[in-house]
Subunit: 157 residues, 2 copies
Amino acid sequence: MVDATEERVSSILGQIRSNGGRATAARRATITALLEAPRNHLSSEDIIRKVRSQQPEVAESTVYRALAALEDLGVVEHVHLGHGPSTYHLTGQAHQHLVCGLCGKVVEVPDSEFAGIAERLSAGYGFEIDLRHFAILGRCHQCRSRRPAPSTEGAPG
Amino acid sequence: MVDATEERVSSILGQIRSNGGRATAARRATITALLEAPRNHLSSEDIIRKVRSQQPEVAESTVYRALAALEDLGVVEHVHLGHGPSTYHLTGQAHQHLVCGLCGKVVEVPDSEFAGIAERLSAGYGFEIDLRHFAILGRCHQCRSRRPAPSTEGAPG
DNA sequence: CTACGTGCAAAGTGTTTGCAGCTCC
DNA sequence: GGAGCTGCAAACACTTTGCACGTAG
């Protein structure tokens, strides 16, 4: 529903304003871009492209600054899926990312899978882990069935 | 012992030669740099500095190429500890890195801690994880005891 | 009105690449 | 003596920054 998206965008713009920020067209377009692709892991490049389809004049740096403002607000977070650019998504879609080093496929795993190990590391090492910020590299089901891996690096074709 | 290090260097240079590569001074210095700091996570910058203390003329690109050659050989691997440069270390020192997002401290955890979750992800998602390539971000014991944000960044003394 | 946001371009960081010359085996 | 390595500098990909102008509130 487009109306629901728009409502959500307005709500986030409201948060920005309550924090002393301004609700601008560039920010509206950035938030919309993120909301419209809830299951995707958007790179800055992706977001810039989407923003420009609505607001062609928006500069790259503006999008980066909008994303930074949204991260400050706690609305957005970024994750490193590999050697390339960071990817951004709305918080509340929190999950761990498993990235296949061979084909680039991203498998999402709910945080709950990691509850056990998190507790163990906390007890054993005093370390409170935040699994979401970096992806876990590995090999997906399909690539495992194929031949053994040449290296830990790879990109989708 | 220096002799043991030198022996190890020669052995790796031997592997390079068996693979059709050449044993050069730059490569010798690169391997030595990695061997001399077995418990450190050396960035490319660190390695370049160490290499130049032995061979001042060596170019950055040569070190990167030496590291790449060593990774191809399986002797070296690199890990992403954060947003900055990659860090390199010899293989066989394999372990998972927990990086404190506040003070930068790196806690090392043996791979065995992750055996359970690795098996579960393999069974549930068909995904074979390679935990070593990215660090896990979090908060260390000391920073947890403190308040949320000390903001001063740097290595612990 | 004025603090905050923007567009633009330039700088910054970390890494890779093209190329002519050198050197290891 | 030739494949392989090197130094140099320029290119690269991604992101940040400085500055003058613009605009939301």
